[in-house]
């Protein structure tokens, strides 16, 4: 069974801190994604990656960056956390195969104070 693991379930950070959210998948998937989930807004794509060292902006990349140095790991970076980045962050992965499903991690609830 595919496992997408997000390193922290809950995180509390102060405004201006640099924050790293880590995601690891164990199925050798090519594609990885970072979403944020907010009540009443659904899921919005922040960044995605189709390969190692490759990254593409999603719908709401402002204030975020990503890193994919290894195929199994996709990190989301908040260079200087702000209170409007308080949210639930979801990582997901998929393979390149046709009709392959999207697998989600359990999420990291980040609070920026």
């Amino acid at each position: 069974d595919v496992k997408v693991t997000q390193s922290s379930r809950y995180l509390v950070k102060r405004t201006g801190e640099k924050v790293f959210l880590e995601c690891v998948q164990d199925m050798d998937h090519e594609n990885m994604f970072w979403y944020r989930q907010d009540p009443g807004l659904g899921l919005r794509l922040i960044y995605f990656s189709y390969d190692v060292k490759m990254k593409e902006k999603g719908d709401i990349p402002e204030g975020y960056s990503v890193s994919r140095e290894k195929k199994e790991r996709f990190s989301l970076i908040l260079e200087s956390a702000s209170t409007n980045q308080t949210s639930m962050y979801l990582c997901a992965s998929s393979s390149d195969g046709e009709n392959s499903p999207l697998h989600f991690g359990n999420g990291t609830r980040l609070t920026v104070t």
Binding site: G40, L45, F48, P101, F104
Partner: protein, 115 residues
């Protein structure tokens, strides 16, 4: 760009009641359609999907959805809900063969089933 509209933000039902959650999308071309579910404290998981073929799609846990192209709709149904169906449900759409980078989610419907 495509968009997805889910008709209800919150739905409250009693056990054994029938469920229908509305989902409409806007996009001029052919699409792939999905319903995801997030149970309390759990990760988002796929309920069912439509790529092509029979527009009536059956998913896990007795859920089904019907794709009506003329109405741009993909409503989720279950004839008799259980307390364990309490969850948040998301409809999502992506243009055909575009991959998940263009997957657009609806705002979600929170379903509460009372025992």
């Amino acid at each position: 760009a495509q968009s997805v509209s889910q008709h209800n933000h919150h739905v409250i039902l009693s056990e054994a009641a029938s469920l229908e959650l509305g989902c409409n999308y806007s996009y001029g071309g052919t699409v792939n359609l999905f319903w995801y579910v997030q149970y309390p404290g759990q990760h988002l998981q796929l309920l069912l999907k439509y790529f092509s073929g029979d527009p009536l799609v059956k998913g896990i846990k007795g859920f089904e959805a019907e794709f009506i192209k003329s109405k741009f709709s993909f409503n989720l149904r279950k004839p008799s809900v259980q307390w364990s169906d309490t969850a948040e449900y998301f409809c999502a759409v992506t243009p055909l063969n575009s991959g998940y980078s263009t997957l657009t989610f609806g705002k979600g419907t929170m379903l509460l089933v009372s025992p």
